[in-house]
């Protein structure tokens, strides 16, 4: 049986791991390779590296650290941040990443998803979505979310975009519920359930994890395939072995580190 995936997300800025709250106030968390190996040892199932400055600055991800990570890491990892062409994606994949995640560039030009899927297979192509509930009650996407001053709301409804992204060839969706990000009150189960209902490919929940029970809630109530978190892992508030023991005790299939 397929395990539920626990995915630490490492926000990368200028080659270091950083973390902010609600996308602001970034503080240094340490060296990329060191943190990647720490999470591997603790039993992380996969890692996401998100170059938070790439998209707002209109540049692609720096490949040097991708190569450094690939040489030592023996679990899958995904790289996100400013990838806007097949050639840029090829560079990141050739450096050793297993998947690439695209967000703003996919919304600006949805055909990019299909071009990447045709070149590398849809299993490589993750579409990341930053979503927020508007005053009218609709969930809509945000772009350029790495920099609060550059962030935009193009008006696309989140559920419509999830359907379209799959039609274009997305192999996985990561839904970041911005209203919950960094505030540790739990994942946005309501929104994730709505997305799950229209999402046939693997779905990863992001934003809001604060305690062990939040992970059990999102796996049970939104049937997501993976749960992504950053600050609770970086701070040490949640240790992955403890999390997996709890999930296992509640009947979820998980993988324990050797």
């Amino acid at each position: 049986m397929l395990s539920k995936r626990i995915i630490p997300c490492l926000d990368v800025r200028d080659g270091r791991v950083v973390k902010g709250v609600r996308f602001r106030d970034h503080i240094d968390m340490g060296d990329i390779v060191e943190l990647a190996l720490r999470y591997r040892d603790e039993g992380a199932d996969e890692l996401v590296f998100y170059d938070i400055t790439a998209s707002p600055q209109g540049r692609s991800v720096d490949r040097d650290w991708v190569d450094r990570v690939a040489q030592v890491l023996d679990i899958p990892f995904c790289v996100a941040g400013g990838i806007r062409s097949v050639e840029e994606a090829r560079g990141v994949l050739h450096a050793g990443a297993d998947k690439i995640s695209i967000n703003t560039p996919a919304l600006e030009r949805p055909a990019l998803i299909g071009e990447l899927a045709a070149a590398f297979g849809n299993q490589c192509v993750v579409v990341g979505i930053d979503s927020q509930r508007d005053p009218d009650g609709q969930w809509r996407v945000r772009t350029h979310s790495g920099d609060p001053d550059a962030m935009r709301a193009p008006g696309m409804c989140t559920l419509d975009w999830v359907v379209q992204a799959q039609q274009h060839g997305a192999g996985e969706i990561v839904l970041n519920c911005m209203g919950n990000d960094g505030v540790r009150r739990g994942y946005d189960v309501e929104q994730l359930r709505a997305v799950r209902a229209v999402c046939d490919v693997p779905l990863v929940a992001s934003g809001g994890a604060g305690n062990l029970e939040h992970f059990a809630d999102v796996f049970r109530d939104a049937d997501v395939d993976g749960a992504l978190a950053a600050s609770v892992f970086h701070s040490g508030d949640i240790a992955i072995p403890d999390l997996k023991r709890m999930l296992s005790a509640q009947g979820f299939e998980v993988r324990h580190a050797a």
């Binding site: 049986m1 397929l2 395990s3 995936r5 591997r40 199932d45 690939a70 040489q71 030592v72 023996d74 679990i75 899958p76 090829r90 994949l93 050739h94 450096a95 050793g96 990443a97 297993d98 070149a119 590398f120 297979g121 849809n122 299993q123 490589c124 192999g171 996985e172 046939d200 490919v201 693997p202 049937d223 395939d225 993976g226 993988r255 580190a257 050797a258």
Partner: protein, 200 residues
Amino acid sequence: MSRVVLVDAGGANIGSVRHALQRLGVDAPLTSDAVTIRNAERVILPGVGAAGAAMHRLRELELVDTIRSLQQPLLGICVGMQILFESSDEGQTTCLGLLPGNVDKLAGNAQLRVPHMGWNRLVHRAKSPLLDGIEDGAHAYFVHGYAAAPGDHCIAESHHGVSFCALVQCNNVAGAQFHPERSAATGSRLLDNFLKWTPA
């Protein structure tokens, strides 16, 4: 002469298999040269992408007969394993035919997402030196939408809606449906077992 070579049959992240071998102290060159492949002690056929594209590339490089006639240990990984069989439903592809059987599309449903992506258990079906030190039920990392049914040569199976062949071995030919280069200690052990393997 290279001890181990990686056949360059395309696929974007072929480098990760090379890194995994480097972690085991083996520097395996990436090659599409028939002589280099024939003279290697061991051959690894990685593959990411589609069966049809991988076979097309092997035909283009005129490597089909070379790989079919290898006597030394051969390991196919993911799509590299799938093309060891006779045929694949993916693009109705005729494959290398080193192993009997067809590769079928995995059927998905509302609770069962395809591609099968993530960590799943390896359930032992037969004894093999390739399974040394790998526990029955150990987790391995999979990313695939097609798989072969567990036939006579299947040494470990996994389950995603149906049981399918996760690890196969027949004479000098072995294949892993999962990605050993991304399967932490379990994957590293499989690669190490392959590097030490002397087919009976």
